[in-house]
């Protein structure tokens, strides 16, 4: 019986592939059985590399959050002001469209109490920081920055969540609606800057 030569990373990678291939609900419906099948190993063998399903999910979430952060930072680079906000918003939506399950995984917030979630929590904070960077230059006062970031996140995530959940029934262009949402968010940021 030859060894499969797995590792934690290999298992998490397989889980990423399994989830990603299963559409928007891929993260929720992720099973050890599917990952075992993909890695060519029996289910209990996975426990040699991963603490269990929850831990595997954590690993998937961590990779997904970091990928999303890279996307955000990449879009923001070399841009500023409304232009940067638009690019970042579109980038996040693109990521969600290309990898619905991973985007969903990235939204699973870390439990501040659980020490096992510390790394995930830090990664999430980095993503938020990357978004906050984009708001530089708008002149939003320090104490309103949190509100601005939350507002931008809410607008973008809300649209994506509804879009992926099939919440928008009408056939009208989703791209155009998204642009309206983003333009509105920009407007809101500018309002926070002047008020």
């Amino acid at each position: 019986m030859p060894r499969a030569g797995l590792s934690r990373d290999a298992v998490v990678d397989a889980a990423l592939a399994v989830a990603d291939a299963a559409g928007p609900s891929g993260f929720d419906t992720l099973t050890l059985a599917a990952v075992a099948a993909r890695t060519g190993v029996a289910v209990p063998s996975l426990y040699k590399h991963v603490g269990g399903l929850d831990d595997l999910r954590r690993g998937v979430a961590l990779v997904s959050v970091r990928a999303l952060t890279r996307r955000i930072a990449g879009e923001a680079m070399g841009r500023s002001g409304p232009d940067a906000v638009r690019a970042v918003a579109r980038g996040i939506r693109s990521y969600a469209t290309e990898h619905p399950a991973l985007y969903a995984a990235a939204q699973h917030a870390a439990d501040p109490q659980d020490p096992a979630d510390a790394e995930l929590g830090a990664a999430g904070a980095e993503a938020v920081a990357a978004i906050a960077t984009v708001l530089r230059g708008f002149g939003v006062p320090e104490e309103r920055t949190v509100d601005a970031v939350r507002m931008l996140r809410a607008c973008v995530h809300g649209f994506i969540a509804l879009e992926q959940g099939g919440g928008f029934g009408l056939p009208d262009s989703l791209d155009e609606s998204f642009e309206v949402v983003v333009a509105t968010a920009v407007l809101g940021i500018e309002r926070l800057a002047t008020a």
Copy 2:
């Protein structure tokens, strides 16, 4: 062995209670076992009243959507313009805070293909229509109304989703941030009206 005297409605009601008592993830973690325990009946007996777990979820979603629609309509009544939008937005958030699991259930969109989802789809359309009503009086052109509704929904739902998911780590006031989001949405609607 005395009969429990169940009915579809009784089973759905029990499921609502079970889900509601289990916090934000109550809808996802709903199990027939828990509903059976609450109704004092063996698990397979539930199949006499409900098609299965999926069908039970559909029933819960339907009740939840209708409750949310009533809330929206109630808040909108007697108000108009920005005042109405603010009231509706706060009402939706209140509903989500009071009944996180039911709010989550109400977001489960119906499958347009599945005839069993027809009723749920119609109920969802009513909820959207109730929101659209609030936009009367802003003077948003006909062909932009869809965008306005989507934008408002995205803002409100996005905030709630992040709030309930623990996505807002910082201790700053969530109520204030929500007001910022709502004010921004109003701004966006007004922009659509004039542009």
